[in-house]
Every structure is written in C-alpha cells, then in structure tokens.
Symmetry: D2
Subunit: 171 residues, 4 copies
C-alpha cells in the first residue's frame, strides 16, 4: 500500500515563458526531486512547469499539474495527474498550498503572486534566480536563496521536513 | 515512464456523515475503480470520501483528496495525494472537474452542489442512491442511475471513455 | 453616512436562458426587493440575472453582479457594481454566500449548484418554480416554496432578518 | 438611475497590521477617492482596509469589502457592501480584479500576492510606500510610485480611465 506519510509534495513555480538557461535549471530540479522520492506539484502548463515535469518523469518521478482551466488536455505531456480547477489564476494559491515547500525559478507576475501566497501562509520558499522583494526601508530576507538545482532541492526538502516535524511537536 | 494518457481519473462524491449501508457501497466503488486501474478523486475527508479511498487503497489503487483547507493532515488516512486548496467548499467545483466522470453516492448538500457543477459542465454523473432532481413540470433524467457498485463503476468508466473519444473526434 | 447594518443583501439566482414567463417573475422580484430597500446580488449576466437587475433599477434599487470573468463589460447593463472574480462558475459560491437569503427562479444546473451551496451553508432558499430536490426514499422540504414574486420577496426578507437576529442572540 | 458606466471602482490593498503612519495615508486615500466619486474596493478587514473605508465613508463615499470568510460581520464597520467569498485568501485575486486600478499602501505578503495578480492581469498598480520588486539582474519598474495620497489617487484614476478608453478603442 502506498502510504501517504511517505509522499512528500514539493511545489515548483516559475513562468510559462522562461528562456533556455532557466528551463535547464527547472529540468534539473525535477530530476533531483524525483531522485529523492519527492512528488512535483506545479501549475501544469509550459515553460518552467513543463521542464520540471520532464525532468521528474525522466528520473522516474510523479507529477501533479494544478491547471487553471477545465481541460486535462491543456496540461503539458509530462503531467501524470492533471487537476482541473476551472478557477483561472486563482489556482496559484492551490499550487503553493499543496507543497510542503516551494522552489521558485525565474518567474513572471504569476510567480510573484505565488511567492506572496506562500510566504503569507508560512510555506518555505527557496529561490533560484527568482524575484527579489523588499519593502520601504526595511531589509527583507524572506526567500531562501539557492545556488543551484541540487542546493534548491536539498533546502526545500529540509524545510519541508522541518515544517512537518514542527507541526507534529505542536500537537 | 508513467503516461498520462493512461491515467483515468474518476471522481466520487458523497457526504461526510453517511451511514453504514452507503459506506459499504462507497468502499466497493473504490475497490472496483482500483481493479480497473482508475484513480479516485474525492474531497479527501470522512464518510463516503474515506470509504471510497479505503476501498481503492486496499485494492492497490491511487487516491487524490481535494481538501477544503490548508492542512494535508485533514485528509483521511487513505488519501495518497492531498491537494490543499484553502478555498473552502468552493473546492467542490475542482473535485468534479478533475474527474472524467463522477459517481455520486447518497450525499448531503455539498454533493448536490457538486452534481450541479458537474452537469453544468457536461461531466457525466452516475448516481448510486443519491439525490433525485427535477424541475417545474418538466421530467428530468440528468443523473444516470446505477444499480450497484459494479454497475456504477462500469457506467462511469464507459462514460469517461466516450467523453474522451468524443473530444478527440471533435479536434 | 450609509450604515452597513441597514444594507440587506438578497441573492437572486436563475439561469441565463430562461423564457419570458420566468423573466417576468424575475423582473417583479427585482422591483419588490428594491421597494423594500434590499440590494440585489446576482451572477451579473443574462436571463434571470438581467431581468432581476432591470426590475430593481427601475424601482430605484442597487444591484451587484458577481461575474465569472475578468471584464466588468460582461455584466448586464443593469448591474451597478460589477465584481470581477476571474474564478469561473466557482463564483456561484460567492453569489449565494453574499446574500442573507436566496431567491431561486427557474434555473439550470448552475442554479442547482447554488442551491446546494446555499443549503449546505444554512442560507435560506426561497423557490419560485425552481428545482425540486429529494433523496432516496427520504421526503425532503429544503427549499421554501413561494407562490409569486411578492410572496418570494417577503419570505426572503423575513428569513434574512430571522437569520441575522438568531446570530445576534447566539453571540 | 445609478448608471454603471459612471461607477469607477478603485481597489486599495495593504496589510491588516499596518502602523499609524500608513493608516493615515490609507485614510487620506479613502477621502480623496470618495471626493472624486470613486468607489473603494478592498479586502474588508482591519488595518489599511479599515482606514481607507473610514476615510471614504467620512467623505460621503461608498465601500465594498471582499471578505475571505462567510460572515458579513467580519467586515470592518466602514464597509457598506460586504461580499462573502468563503474562499479564504484566494479572494485576493477578486479584490484586484474588481478595481480598474489598484493603490498599494505598505502591505504584508497578502499585498505582495495581490500586486502579482494585478500586474499579471495588466491592472495598473500605484504604490505608496509598498513593496519593491525586481528580478535577477533585470531592472524592473512595474509599480507606478506615488508621492502622497493625492498623487496616488490621481494616478490611479488616470490609469483606470486610460485602461477603459483603451479597451473601448480596441472594440
């Protein structure tokens, strides 16, 4: 029996129009997540989302795509499990909430909204050449920076495990 | 590589407070779906949702729970893949849209809302002792009635395949 | 200063393709709501939604349209305040939750989903020639039937006031 | 008859825990919007949301609160029209989509998510001491900076009108 307690879902976010350099990073992130047994959650479409799914699949992993629309056919071909939300880009909230940690790679405004939702919900965000955010004259170090795909994946899995164990202790 | 084209997601809906007779039906539906290789999508909580997941898991299947809240821990223990939506009962829309067909068993008002969303989206609904709906003086036969769990699962899979092939022909 | 405590929001639900007889009922419901100072909340589109807004506006009332899309221009011309949700038909949940009571007139599957969401949330539903629902062999009288527009509006306002006062007592 | 074409909805976003200096800015933004006949849309809760509504009401304006929960009683006392979404912080999407322009004041992570959603949807965002965002080594000037409340309101109304007229020309 597949035990849920062993499923570790990690969300990967990033834009649908990323260039090749970022797509390579996403592909490697997908591979590294799959090698460690983590399940990839993403928005299910093109660009970063497609590359991370491709990487995960080619390393034997499992991928979930949280789609904005109603048609599973809009998912990229490396999505195993298309979740059709029909709620448009409000689905970004679900992409981040379903992961125990989030890895952000590059990214456009949708990614920025996802970073906001994740941080607001105290979900750890690991950044790989993504948005820098700061406010007024306050210094801000909200996003945990990663140097490369392996570093991002290791930090994400460590943060996800810490979050789960913190929760258990709190009970 | 797991091919998405082979994943058949079937949604099972029904209330969280069903009595034993209905829970048995849900358990059998879960088993029959798993034996035919279909993946169970449900709301992830108790009652019908828990029984269908238990049945599916004990027959070697895979289960997805689309949760109303933020915490994967609110899923019943037979959910493999908890999707945390954080959108409350508006998540009912996602439960039905993610299946290629829907099996409704018994059910309270949440199930009624799901039947409405499914039929409005032209997703086939198979009913196993669920709501009867009609309007004004018009006769209505919207929900496809099933006699027992095997009948419900066979009708759901047939309707899901017909829907997918109709779509392909339309392209 | 407009005091919120005096604003009474009543939701009116029904399909976008209703025929003339039902549209007349909706128009009269809009007029009767406006004459009693209630604000109309609806889905903002055509059919029943347009007629109820027209009735309300022509009796000097105020109308809110909870739209499925992003464009206020998709609202019918009698909507004063278009709320753009961008979440598609999941916005049905918001239509019913924003009213203190719901009047259902005729209606297709979207209306059925709204009835389910309202009843599940203990929001009173007054029916004017709308869906009949029942379950298994249990008799069900969930929707409060109304004979005509005046009766529907009076029952809706009474139910809304009772709901608000019950809440205050509970505090 | 209130004509919708004359209703100008402007969204104001910002955190529920802002300090006094920012609350004063929000109060003034509310007043300036009301004086120019714009309707305030906000998240309906405390902090910036409450101050902007108070300012608008005391200058004779109208306010809409898009609430995360089910209870209109959770709105601050200066909200005229509480919209109960029940979808939690996914309602942030609706707050920004319902305005023809957005004014961001200070703000925590929810505000950051709203800025992302607005910019992703090409809704103009005017910033009053809010988040700074940039990406990788690219220079970014996405948020239109404002010097003070009057400047913010004038820029928001100008951007909203430009957006509406651009749309009409496109038709």
């Amino acid at each position: 029996m597949v035990r849920r307690s062993k499923s570790l879902l990690i969300s990967v976010i990033g834009g649908s129009n990323a260039n090749g350099e970022y797509l390579d990073l996403a592909y490697q992130v997908g591979q590294e997540l799959a090698r460690r047994g983590a399940i990839v959650v993403c928005g299910g479409l093109a660009g970063i989302m497609k590359s991370v799914c491709k990487g995960a699949k080619e390393a034997g992993g499992t991928t979930i795509g949280i789609l904005p629309g109603n048609d599973p056919g809009e998912a990229n071909p490396y999505v195993d499990l298309p979740i059709c939300t029909g709620i448009g880009y409000a689905r970004n909230v679900i992409v981040v909430k379903s992961g125990r940690a989030v890895i952000a790679i590059d990214g456009a405004f949708g990614t920025l909204s996802e970073i906001g939702h994740a941080l607001g919900d105290a979900i750890p965000v690991i950044g790989l050449r993504t948005w820098n955010i700061s406010q007024d004259n306050k210094v801000a170090r909200y996003i945990i920076p990663a140097n490369d795909p392996v570093d991002a994946v290791e930090k994400a899995i460590a943060a996800a495990r810490q979050r789960s164990s913190r929760k258990k202790r709190a009970k």
